[in-house]
Symmetry: C2
Subunit: 198 residues, 2 copies
DNA sequence: CCTCCAGGTTAACGACCGCTAACCCCGCTG
DNA sequence: CAGCGGGGTTAGCGGTCGTTAACCTGGAGG
């Protein structure tokens, strides 16, 4: 993992603030002036960096889906040949890291997809589908009795479980990141195990 | 359960269609004209039934939260004194029924809360909190080793799991309502069990 | 038969929002 | 030092949206 140390570019600032605002108030609920104000410039100045408001959302959603997918592929390669439990644990860990570190993006990811242009939406959906199918393969390797539709449903449901992190913030004082991550990990494993014992 | 057989009133039609549209395109993404068109009247005719667009959303969200809470209380009364497993199963069953039968409402429920007036939002949050606390009590009765914050996190996460039903529709042809419900139920139990074995 | 009202209609207003136009400033570079 | 381009600014246009105003209509009640 090549951790960035240099200062974020203006584009990156904008994307980050836009993600936060979109997650908080919805795509249509945020004006370009607010996004500009959040990075210290005002309104139309954004158009020096993006062709339009839609483009920001598109770049965010494509970026998320791509990151999730390539991260998962990377992890699959790293643990290549290991037992299915190990592979699944790695996938779960990766998803939890993402859900805990980029909550606004996780929120956007399944909330604002329909606000995209057709071509962008197709791309995002394709990336998402690949990500899901990757999980489905691993889950079925671990629980061969699970039918493919059932495995797919189970994967989607576990995503729902892991992506609940934004709600955890609001509720009572989460007891430290590591503890929360461990709890989520256990629950995901437990959910899959229960799904597998048809 | 007193099942309704009489025709739905116009108000109810409007609420139903508004829920569907809000879930599909977001509160700000739907115009009053579209809501009107969905029930066969046009635009400002809605104002004979609601004081404004916000009021529709408010009534929907308050309604959902209230229904979930009173339904759960009802179930608690029905199985009063039973073993904790039985009580939890009943809660899970109720939530799954709701998630499968009223997907648009489930979607709205955690997506558009911030679009409400302060007073309405407070009310909804209070109802939601009561619902959560009711679950937390049952979960902790069944898994006494679980700390209260952990139990609360677990409950929120299982809600995320159960509320993933809208995503199941999009993906592959869910194999019948009963099968899906059974799968979700098993997974929820498995997730709680895994959370409980700290 | 007249009245009235619930429940519609269309027209239009005012606010807001995304985006463009026109202009400006400043730090490079030849 | 001239020029120029990246990255800002403000003013304003065009369209959309929520809401109100004014008007209409069919059926129930006295």
């Amino acid at each position: 993992m090549a951790t960035r140390t240099d200062a974020p570019t203006r584009r990156e600032q904008i994307l980050k603030e836009a993600a936060r605002l979109f997650a908080e108030r919805g795509f249509h609920g945020v004006g370009v002036d607010e996004i500009g104000a959040a990075v210290g410039i005002s309104g139309p100045g954004l158009y020096r960096h993006f062709p339009g408001k839609d483009a920001m959302l598109a770049e965010l959603l494509v970026g998320i889906s791509g990151q999730l997918l390539t991260g998962a592929k990377q992890r699959l390669k790293e643990v290549d040949g290991a037992a299915p439990e190990v592979v699944l644990d790695s996938l779960i860990e990766g998803h939890i890291d993402f859900a805990l570190d980029d909550r606004p993006l996780i929120t956007l990811h399944d909330r604002e997809l329909d606000r995209l242009r057709d071509s962008d939406r197709k791309l995002v959906r394709q990336l998402q589908r690949q990500y899901v199918e990757l999980w489905v393969g691993v889950v079925r390797a671990l629980y061969p009795d699970l039918s493919e539709p059932a495995a797919r449903s189970a994967v989607h449901s576990v995503f729902g479980l892991l992506n609940s992190t934004p709600h955890l913030a609001r509720s009572g004082s989460l007891p430290g990141r590591a503890t929360t991550a461990a709890l989520l990990h256990r629950m995901a494993r437990g959910a899959f195990a229960a799904a597998g014992s048809a």
